[in-house]
Symmetry: none
Subunit: 197 residues, 4 copies
DNA sequence: ACTTAAACGAGACGGTACGTCCCGTCTTTGC
DNA sequence: GCAAAGACGGGACGTACCGTCTCGTTTAAGT
C-alpha cells in the first residue's frame, strides 16, 4: 500500500549535488555562460562527467538546477501596506537579478524557453513562487480593506516585475537607479489598484 | 579624394541577402533558435557558407540582421492624448513580439548581450528607436499641457514596455490578453505621469 | 607456519563462478567479443559486478577463465603410428577451434598478448599442454623406430598446428575442408620427419 | 554514360591522408595498440578529429588503412625453382611480421575479424595478394615441369604461411629462428607437392 | 542464539575515449 | 573574379564502459 521506495544500491552522494552546483555557479561567474563546459564543471567539482549526466539530462538542466532551482524561497513580505509589500517584492527581485552576471540571465532564459521540459519546470518553480507571493500580498490588502476586490494576479505580476526585468535585461540600465525604479513601480501599481476600487 | 568605393570585380548579389534572411527566418520558425545552424541556412538558401560569412562576421550577426534589423521603423503615434499614444506604442510592440517564436526572442537577446558589438547595434537600433518614440510622445504631451514637465524617458520606457515583454517572454502568457494588458499599462502610466504634475 | 587460510566470514558461492562463465560464453556467442561488457555479464548472470571483480582482476581474465582455462585436458593420442598421432592432434585442435566464434579467438589472443600475466598463463596452460602432447607423440615415434632422433618440438608444433590456425583464424576458410587439411598437414609433417632420418 | 564523378568543392588534402597514416603508425610503435587514441592521432598529425572521421568510419578502419592497406605490393618471386620461390615468400612474410610490434598484429587481427566490413577488406587486400603470389609461383612451377598439376592454392597458402604466423603470433617464438623455420617450411611444402606428382 | 566477517545485488563513482556536431576559415573548380 | 561546394582545425557534446566504492542484506563459522 505504502510506497516508501526504499532504494537499492549505492545511494547518490549528496555532496556531489552541491559540488556540481557550486562549480557551475563559480564557472558561470568566472567565464560566463557561453564559455561554460560540462567538462570544466566536472573537473572543477572533482567528479566525473557521468555523475553529472546521471542527475541531469543536459547541460542546460544542470545550469537550471544550479541557479533557478536552488534559489531559496522568500516568504511574502508583510509590511502592513500594499505599497510597502509591492516595493519589497520589487526590491528582492531587483537584488537577485543584480547579483547574477548579466549574460547568465539571458543564457538561462534562452535555454529555458528553448526546451519544453525546462520551460515547464521554470513555470513551476520561479513563476509559481512569484505568483504565490503576489497573491498573498494582494489577499492581505483585501483583508485590510485597502482593496475592494482581488485583481488578476498575473496582470499585477507583469505590471510589477516587468519594468524591473526590462531595465536589467533589455535596457541594461544603471543598477544604481534600481531602488528608485522599484519605488516608482510599486507606488504606481499600488495607486492604480487602490484607485480602481 | 572621394570615397564612393567604386567596386571592382563582380558586385554582390542582392538576391543573396534576401535569400539568407528568408532562409534564416524560415528555419528559426521550423526548428527554433537553438537548432539553427549556418550550414542549414546556406543549404536552404541554395548558397555557400562563404557568402554568409562574407556579409556577417558571426552566426549571431546573421540572425540579428534577419530579425531585428529588418524591422521597419514606426513613426511615433499621434492620437491627440498621452494615454492614446502610450497605448498605441504598447500595441505595436505587443504585435511585433507576438509574431516571433518566443525562443527566438530569448536566443536573440542572449546573443545580443553576449556580444559587445551586437549589444551596441541593438541599443542603436531598437532601443534608440523606442526611446525616440517615447520621447516624442512625451514632448507632445508637454506641449499639449497634459504634463507639466517631461519625465525621465528611460523610466517611462521601462514602465511602459516592461510588462509587455514580461508577459510574452517570461510568463509566456495568453496572447489574447495582450490588448487588455496594453490598455491597462498605458492607462496606468498615463495616470501616474499626469498625477505627478 | 601452515597457510591453509582458514576463511572467516561468508564463503564464496561456487554457483556464481559457473554463472559468470556461462553468461560470458553465452554473450560471446550472442554479441561477439568486442561488444562484451562486464555489466552485461553481471546482469545476465544475475549477480553484481563486484562478485566478478572479486574473482578476476580484469575483464580479460574473466573471459580467459571462461574459455581457455575451462578447456579439458586431452591425453596424447596413441594410434600406433606417428602419422596417425599427428592427424589426431590436428583433428582435436581443429574441432576445438571450430566451436568458438572466430572473433572470440582473435579477441582472446589479442588480450592474452597485451597482458603480461595472461600471456604467461596462456603459455603455461594451452601452449605447454600442446607442447607436451607433441613431445610425447614424438618420443613414442622414436621408441618405435619411426624416427631416428627426436626433432625440435617447437618447430614441429608450428609446422603442425600453424596451418590449422591459419585456416581458421586468418583465411576464415571452409570448416568442411578441415579434415582434409588435417590429414594433409599430418602426412606432410610425418613424411618430412621420417625422410630426414 | 561516363561516371568520372568530377567532384565539386574543396578536394581532400592528400597530405592529411599521409599525416594520419604516419601518426597512427608512430603512435602504434610508441604506445602500443591498446593505448592508441583517435585524439592522439589527430593531435600528432596536427589535424582535427573530423578530418579523420571524414575518411574512416571508425578508429579500426583508420588503423587498418594505416597498416594493412598501405603495405606495398610485393611481386611474386621468381628464383627459378619452386622451393626457392616458396622460401622467398616465407621470408618476406616473416620479415613483415617481425617488424610490427607484436600487440599491434593481434589487435589488428582482432579488429578485422570483429567487423564484417573490415574482414571483407582484409580478404580483398592482404589475403588476395598472398593468394595471387602463391598462385603465380605454382603456375610457373607447372610450366617448368616441376609440378604435374597445380594444387589447391588455398591449401598451399595455409601450409606455407600458417607455421610462420603461428610461430610469431601464438608461440611468440624467437625471431632469430625465423629464417630456419622459413627454409624448413618451404622445403617441406615443396617436397610434398613434388612428391605427389 | 549471537556475534563476526566476508560475500552478495544494486548501482553510484572517477576517469577515459568514443563518434558526432557545429563554428568560422580555407581551398578548389566552374560560371 | 566572385560563387557553390565542401574540406579543414578546433572544441564541446552526450554516451559507453572500465574497475572501484559504497550501501543494506544474507550467509556461514565460531562463540
Amino acid at each position: 500500500m505504502s510506497e516508501p521506495k526504499q532504494p537499492v544500491g549505492r545511494p547518490r552522494d549528496s555532496q556531489i549535488d552541491h559540488a556540481i552546483a557550486s562549480a557551475t555557479r563559480a564557472l558561470l561567474v568566472e567565464r560566463g555562460y557561453a564559455k561554460l563546459t560540462v567538462d570544466a564543471v566536472a573537473s572543477r567539482a572533482g567528479i566525473g562527467k557521468a555523475a553529472i549526466y546521471r542527475r541531469f539530462a543536459t547541460k542546460q538542466e544542470m545550469i537550471f538546477a544550479a541557479t533557478v532551482h536552488d534559489m531559496e524561497e522568500q516568504p511574502p513580505p508583510d509590511s502592513g501596506s500594499l505599497r510597502g509589500d509591492l516595493a519589497a517584492i520589487c526590491d528582492i527581485i531587483a537584488e537577485q537579478l543584480s547579483t547574477a552576471p548579466p549574460d547568465v540571465l539571458h543564457g538561462l532564459l534562452a535555454d529555458i524557453h528553448g526546451d519544453q521540459a525546462l520551460g515547464a519546470r521554470f513555470s513551476g518553480s520561479f513563476i509559481e513562487r512569484e505568483r504565490f507571493v503576489i497573491d498573498t500580498v494582494l489577499s492581505r490588502a483585501v483583508e485590510r480593506g485597502e482593496l475592494a476586490a482581488k485583481p488578476d494576479t498575473a496582470i499585477v505580476h507583469a505590471l510589477l516585475l516587468g519594468p524591473i526585468f526590462y531595465w536589467i535585461l533589455i535596457l541594461i540600465g544603471d543598477h544604481g537607479a534600481l531602488p528608485d525604479l522599484s519605488r516608482t513601480v510599486a507606488g504606481m501599481v499600488a495607486d492604480t489598484l487602490t484607485a480602481s476600487v
